[in-house]
Subunit: 312 residues, 2 copies
């Protein structure tokens, strides 16, 4: 009887590594828990979790002896940490190993939006370059003014990169941080008013829902570009769509959306939005590092050792 | 009779500014010089030049009193500087004001290639994200090893940016430069062998033709990515196409090609190449700054003052 359940869309490499180490029972989704036998559920002491389906009290109550839910990813908003804590279940995530990739994607989306690189590529590939000449002029990115919403570990990586593009860095955080002279704002409207580019690097979850509100988006103004690599929930998406459709802001670069992957079709009709399919951490190197950190947390739990990256 | 000829595809804003300042005669291409009257040609003392058509001895000999050919762009390989010098004609260009934009595009192409961002965008937009799930994993960019071929002003801007992506910076230049510990290579094959990413930031012209040779490309190896924002002529394009088509390198990000805009159609068949239509300096802000610097050089010449950015 396996001590480990692996729940979610693990890829082949991840499944193989989990199998080697734990011979787990694999489930595609949390609702398949109901299909396990009582003995299988009672035998489980650890869950390797991946995905965005909710994993809360109802699921935990099916697993009376689970002591850890080890999440694949830094964002663990799918897991109800309060419900876990109430049941003495530890939750772990995979921080830090993905910071570089997520920051890279944020910077690349901002550059692509300013420089209209997808459109310029299409211009060449469609034959327009040859038949009609140069692609239209677009917008300088370097030297711009950027606001980072949430100067945690990922926000910091983004700011460090954009500083090398000679950007004037502003940020919002719950409290002022030690920085190389970056401008702190205690509220996001003040931040948005001060900058042209707004990069959202908040944690997900209830506390940050719609944090980038209609008022923040309006304060950003018609030259504004929103970049989001956090969670779709951190932005008032209705207000964002309205602003993008009506020129209240200039554009966006978005890796995250509400209701992924069945996102609002209105995004696909906009040519001022760089759209990525939530692939911030989606490199071979980083996903391997995330998978290893998840397994190491589970192994530590089984061995009765200290967890590497607990969140509660 | 106008003292200034403006030759090339100037856009509306550039034409208006040139008209305000110099009331020039506008020509679309150098071969239209033959259509001017002898008096018009004799009256011309300055040429504002834009474009990639050759401007050499034959054109200069039609303009006996021209003392300056002011180029729009940092690369002046279209203009025969030796022929100009032999006729006491000064050549100016527009350096520095475009460094940021060109460096931004180089970095963005490298990130887009590694992270397969155009393909990931198409994956979402085509409905595959919704119907088939995540886009495939791709390649981490940060922390990579990059070689800059030509550590001039633009190469330096690129290196400074990539250093913020925690890249290990190597470079080729004619002589070792003062750097923050970057690794100097005296020959490009040694450089290519040491790195995964090769960014070409050479000047154009005869001296650098095919500088990135088949041997250099082979030394880069199957994980190699070539980024070129200099001139198509600096790379052995036949060798590059062969390497891209046959997996000898991993991919490329190219803003410049031979025979622009009628570039080799084989590039368009490759999905491992990010293609941009020579838009390195193509922002509203930077093109305005370039146009101003070109006009300021011409104004200085007409006023008998020192030129701002002479190249001979």
């Amino acid at each position: 009887m396996s001590k480990t359940l692996a729940i979610g869309p693990f890829n082949d490499a991840e499944r193989a590594a989990l199998s080697d180490e734990f011979s787990p029972v694999f489930l595609a989704k949390p609702d398949e828990l109901a299909g396990l036998t009582d003995d299988q559920r009672a035998a489980a002491t650890a869950v390797a979790y991946k995905g965005h389906h909710a994993f809360g009290a109802a699921q935990m109550d099916l697993l009376p002896n689970v002591g850890i839910v080890a999440n694949f990813g830094v964002g663990y908003d799918a897991i109800d940490v309060h419900a876990a804590a109430a049941r003495s279940i530890k939750v772990t995530n995979t921080p830090d190993v993905l910071n570089d990739d997520v920051a890279d994607l944020a910077v690349a989306m901002l550059l692509m939006q300013c420089r209209e690189m997808e459109q310029a590529s299409a211009w060449a590939r469609s034959g327009n370059w040859k038949s009609k000449g140069e692609y239209r002029l677009n917008r300088k990115a370097s030297g711009g003014t950027v606001g980072i919403v949430g100067l945690g570990r990922i926000g910091r990586e983004i700011a460090d990169r954009l500083a090398a593009f000679k950007m004037d860095i502003h940020y919002f955080a719950r409290s002022e941080k030690t920085t190389p002279g970056w401008q702190y704002h205690g509220d996001p409207v003040s931040l948005a008013r001060a900058v042209d580019f707004l990069v959202i690097a908040l944690v997900g979850g209830k506390d940050t829902e719609n944090f980038v509100s209609a008022e923040v988006i309006e304060a950003l103004g018609p030259r504004g570009v929103v970049v989001n690599i956090s969670r779709g929930s951190t932005v008032d998406e209705a207000a964002l769509l309205d602003a993008l459709e009506n020129g209240k802001i200039a554009g966006a670069g978005l890796d995250v959306f509400l209701n992924e992957p069945a996102i609002d079709d209105r995004f696909y009709k906009l040519d001022n939005v760089v759209i990525q399919p939530h692939q911030g951490s989606g490199t071979v190197e980083t996903r391997a590092a995330m998978a290893k950190l998840q397994r190491d947390n589970i192994a530590a739990h089984h061995a009765g050792k200290a967890l590497l990256t607990p969140v509660n």
